[in-house]
Amino acid sequence: MTIVKIPPVLRQAVGGERTVQAAGTTVGEVLGNLCDQHPAVGAQILTPEGDLHKYVNVYVNDEDARLLQWTDTPVGTGDTVLILPAMAGGSR
């Protein structure tokens, strides 16, 4: 199982949790499993075709998955997958 860190904007979609355990051997499988467990997350981060939206950054441990093998990046027990959309807040 891989730990998936959930950003604040998606926490409601996973019942308020800050991390979720998900199964799979690649980033794609882990996120797929996450979206199976919590379909509301899928509605936010996946396109109708099932691809990740471009505005969703995914990190495996501290490295940008885009610079690894994106959704094919292998992950295992002990790895952390972090979902990171940009935040805009600052002033008001």
């Binding site: 950003p7 604040p8 904007v9 998606l10 800050r18 936010q44 396109t47 939206h53 471009k54 505005y55 969703v56 950054n57 990190y59 501290d62 490295e63 940008d64 610079l67 972090l82 990171l84 959309p85 940009a86 935040m87 805009a88 807040g89 600052g90 002033s91 008001r92």
Partner: protein, 398 residues
């Protein structure tokens, strides 16, 4: 019988060569002169000294010379006010094993009489030395760094949650000029976190209110109030007047606009964003590290990116993140330490954890990549259209 002062000077003259100012001045002016060691007291040094000289008051000569001279064979010229203290100091250096030491005949007085160039060090006033004494004590800042801060100009986008603590601490630190860009007025609901404002200034422009707070804290800081929104039409003018820009904006169009304008004006951009219990921070140094768009190629749609006004924010989170921005801005201005360039810092106040992610330059970045067609665009339209027609509006594929 013990030797008198005159005996000591006479003995020093027997072993230490004396150099006339006119003989060494051409070399000093050409920048290939000896290492000039000025042994006068600080008050004398502050009035002016030979160009390029290093200052070691005579009382510290033995302890400090090793740090500046390097090897013992280095050619050194010792100078003082009239040419006598330097002779005695030169004897000390000779006794320490320095073999190539001479003394400036007639000292700084004769140098100045002969109209050779003089460097007058910029120094802190006694009031500044007292106000900034805790900075001056830090070797990485010191008097020189403090003078640099006093000469620096920082532009803060937003005098709100992030801008309030950032502006306050930058002003306290003596950043000489602070620009506050905000078209908004102080609202009662701001005061839970926007600590630069006060209850009796509700209704006042946030920049004006910030200026009042800064004036009370540190009157020597020049505050420029820019009471309008940053737009395509004013952003380049705004940024070009400042050394660093601190992004505390509250919306994506402004953040992407700033990111591109920072690249165009080559202004370092200190980034932070906040929501509820979580903050992001990074530093974007144009064409040296990644830019904002290398990190976030596209903004999320509005339902995935609520503002603090919609989703809330822990007031004190603003203090943590705004002060991380102030810290990074000071480091950028002083050129010290390792900034967050190339890293995104995520602070989770609920878990009290700091997580660091690597951020790399995207070779295909539409803003800073080699093939980028960098120009200011309609960021409102682009952000509104992300996921649908984003590419055509913002030239994301260019």
């Amino acid at each position: 019988m013990s030797p008198t002062y005159q005996d000591l000077i006479a003995r020093a003259r027997e072993v230490i060569p004396e150099v006339e100012p006119s003989d060494v001045a051409p070399r000093v002016e050409a920048g290939d002169g000896p290492l000039i060691v000025d042994v006068r007291e600080t008050g004398e040094w502050d009035q002016g000294h030979l160009p390029g000289a290093v200052h070691i008051p005579r009382g510290f000569l033995e302890s400090r010379i090793g740090g500046v001279a390097g090897d013992t064979g280095r050619e050194m010229l010792v100078s003082c006010a009239g040419g006598q203290r330097s002779l005695l100091a030169a004897v000390t250096l000779r006794d320490m094993g320095y073999t190539n030491v001479s003394s400036l005949a007639g000292g700084f007085a004769r140098w100045k009489q002969n109209d050779h160039p003089v460097e007058v060090p910029r120094i802190l006033t006694p009031a500044q030395r007292s106000r900034y004494s805790r900075h001056v004590l830090i070797p990485e800042v010191g008097e020189e760094g403090q003078l640099k801060l006093l000469d620096s100009k920082a532009l803060l986008i937003g005098a709100g949650g992030l801008g309030s603590p950032a502006a306050y601490y930058l002003a306290a630190a003596g950043v000489g000029t602070i620009g506050l860009v905000d078209d908004d007025v102080v609202d009662e609901s701001n005061l839970q976190r926007q600590i630069i404002h006060t209850t009796d200034r509700v209704g006042m422009n946030k920049g004006e209110s910030g200026r009042e707070a800064i004036r009370a804290l540190n009157p020597e800081v020049q505050v420029n109030v820019h009471p309008f929104r940053v737009t395509r039409d004013n952003v380049l003018d705004l940024l070009s007047g400042y050394d660093v820009v601190v992004d505390g904006a509250d919306n994506f169009p402004t953040r992407y606009l700033l990111a591109d304008a920072a690249l165009m004006t080559k202004t370092p951009l200190v980034h932070a964003s906040i929501l509820r219990f979580e903050g992001h921070a990074s530093v974007f140094v144009p064409y040296d590290g990644p830019c904002y768009r290398c990190l976030f190629p596209e903004p999320p749609p509005p339902d995935l990116a609520p503002s603090c006004g919609e989703a809330g924010v822990l007031g004190v989170l603003c203090g943590v993140m705004g002060n991380i921005q102030a810290t990074e801005a000071i480091k950028v201005l002083l050129g010290i330490g390792d900034t967050l360039s190339g890293r995104l810092l995520i602070y989770d106040a609920l878990g009290m954890t700091f997580t660091e992610l690597k951020v790399r330059r995207d070779p295909d970045c539409p803003s800073c990549g080699p093939a980028a067609d960098l120009r200011l665009r309609d960021y409102e339209a682009w952000c509104a259209g992300v996921g649908t027609h984003a590419s055509e509006v913002a030239g994301a594929t260019a």
